[in-house]
Symmetry: C2
Subunit: 371 residues, 2 copies
């Protein structure tokens, strides 16, 4: 990307009397030495404090500043990258990260997605060009047996992936262990019956001290994929799972909306697009425009571009729009987003009486629309 | 607290045409079954969907809704509690959590702080009534030897705690392992010389797959405390460390400001006060009012109350205001916040030529002001 420095673009909303250049300079100190410049020796300041590369007007209301940081301020570890990006300044107002140029050397040290788009297609044995269909297993409150029955129906319909709803954890109605065993069994049985290859992705989001035992259980049970919510478990937990679990990871955006304000936070295409990809998500679920959540189509397209465009040597991640995707509108979204997409369809499948049939008709429609 | 249901109070900002009661009802479905009510069997809806207990006007502009959830929707695990609180609805607009009534049974299953206020006082051998003084070790970019020298000076001055700056990770200038060894050695030497008991708290925030090896290193080196940023590593990682590491944990608020919007997010006293305490922070650092960050004194007092007030049987957590705390104003803050506080003083100590003397004068002044 842009050499050996981290380049961060901030959109700054200044309060009355606040000067954009001064605000940028303070960010450069706050995110590194956390001291007023009078307390930092000049040679150290040169070496480690962010360098304000550029400050200009953005749209008459906001300013845009670019600050570059030496990779030495990050080191090699992901949590400190996140901290350098937005740690302390999250607590100030009017600062939104709209673009990041990652240092090439740092990016090269991040393994990223283990499967990516091609790898996930191979796992689903869908090497063709059509989008994949992912169904969500719900609702919370059903027993493991009832969820397994639903799983089996989706698999019988040839749905490519069935993921746990991200709110299914280890509740008494459907405890993790029992749910995984029964759902995976139901999917495997349906796969054998129709020669299919539906993947079941249980929700791995759980206690830090039990995740590794659950990875082992998934692998022992034959699962090849899992759902995980990076902001619920910590994004670096996902990075380590991508590195070590051998599972394909579908990332869920739970909590991420906290960062998505017009005048503050981190742009969705940076957080869900680049950051979730860097920590190794093979697919990233995001709320599609027009559904229950307020993303615009421009934002969705920007996320797609960040997930699939060049990013060092990292594999591309599957964009997975969901949240109010209507069965009838899928051809429209293929037209907008292309074929390298997973459509996460929830409620509008459940609104139909026969889940297997609803799933198979939708997969067929997707194949046709993909041409 | 309030029986066996989780009671969440949401302050709702409605867009034109949006109805507060309908918005509350949607939240209750979104955070549990994630399906329209037409797709959920009535008995299941009764059992698992949130129950809107109350909706009323808050201040003419906003509404206030209380929704209660069955503890069965949470289960026993912290990440799902966080998800139920704000997972999906973070992606919607105009929803701010202003109060949480935790289910008594769930709270009883959370161990919380291992040391708490009394335990941390014992570790610092300051059983008296005065506030504690914590200095921050910085800036990033100094070598391990230079940081150790500063650590030693603070310890020579009798500062109670010296914590790594939260941006010190494993950068080449002062790698984690070397920094911990040298700083702890410098502190122990100074402690022996003056019969002191300064605690050094290295920054444990780091890669998920290396934290346990670092805990071991800290313990082998004789460290009894650590700094950690719950939102950089994942709050549940902190919970597991509180349970298993044996270290006193100082929590840093990095990234937390993303949640602190007037019309969206989670109130600081819930996130930094209750949630950080529930995951086991023995002290919680927050940006004091009047410094570089925009908290009001009311917010700071609310955080203090949440950290120290009744919360099941959890130990109280040390409020640790920092970020622009001026040496001269410490007596004022003792007057406002009382004695059970750790003052985190950074820049205004570094502005003085003799760190040991600056530290010892401040500890003395705090003792006097505490009466």
């Amino acid at each position: 990307m842009s050499g050996q420095r981290l380049r961060v673009t901030y959109d700054l909303t200044c309060s009355p009397g606040e000067d954009a250049a001064e605000k940028a300079r303070r960010i450069a100190f706050e995110q590194t030495v956390e001291l007023p410049d009078s307390c930092v020796q000049p040679d150290l300041a040169d070496r480690i404090v962010g360098r304000v590369e550029q400050v200009g007007d953005l749209d008459g209301l906001r300013a845009r500043a670019v600050i570059s940081y030496p990779v030495e301020a990050v080191g090699n570890e992901f949590p400190q990258m996140l901290n350098l990006l937005f740690g302390n300044i999250s607590l100030q107002r009017g600062i939104r990260i709209s673009k990041v140029g990652w240092p090439a050397s740092w990016l090269a040290s991040q393994p990223g997605p283990r499967f990516g788009i091609d790898g996930l297609r191979r796992l689903c044995r869908c090497a063709g060009r059509r989008p994949l269909l992912c169904a969500a297993l719900k609702p919370m409150g059903l027993s493991a047996g009832e969820l397994a029955r639903i799983c089996g129906e989706f698999a019988a319909g040839g749905v490519d992936l069935v993921k746990d709803d991200h709110g299914l954890a280890d509740q008494p109605a459907a405890p993790f262990r029992e749910r995984v065993l029964r759902c995976q069994e139901a999917v495997e049985r349906a796969n054998r019956n129709r020669g299919g290859s539906t993947l079941y992705a249980p929700n791995l989001t759980g206690p830090a001290d039990r995740i590794h035992e659950r990875v082992k259980q998934l692998r022992d049970t034959g699962c090849r994929a899992a759902l995980i919510s990076p902001l619920l478990v910590g994004p670096d937990v996902v990075r380590s799972l991508a590195d070590q679990s051998g599972l394909a990871l579908l990332a869920h955006p739970a909590l991420s909306g906290s960062y998505f304000h017009d005048d503050h936070g981190i742009a969705p295409e940076i957080l869900l697009g680049q950051i979730f990809r860097i920590v190794g998500s093979d697919a990233v679920i995001y709320p599609n425009t027009g559904g229950r959540f307020p993303f615009t189509e421009t934002t969705c397209q920007a996320i797609n571009a960040a997930l699939t465009g060049p990013l060092g040597t990292l594999r591309p991640t599957f964009p997975t729009p969901g949240g109010g995707i209507d069965v009838r509108r899928v051809p429209h979204w293929i037209d907008r987003y292309g074929n390298d997409v997973i459509f996460l369809v929830g409620g509008s499948l459940y609104a139909q009486p026969d889940l297997a049939r609803a799933g198979s008709e939708l997969v067929e429609a997707m194949g046709k629309a993909a041409g």
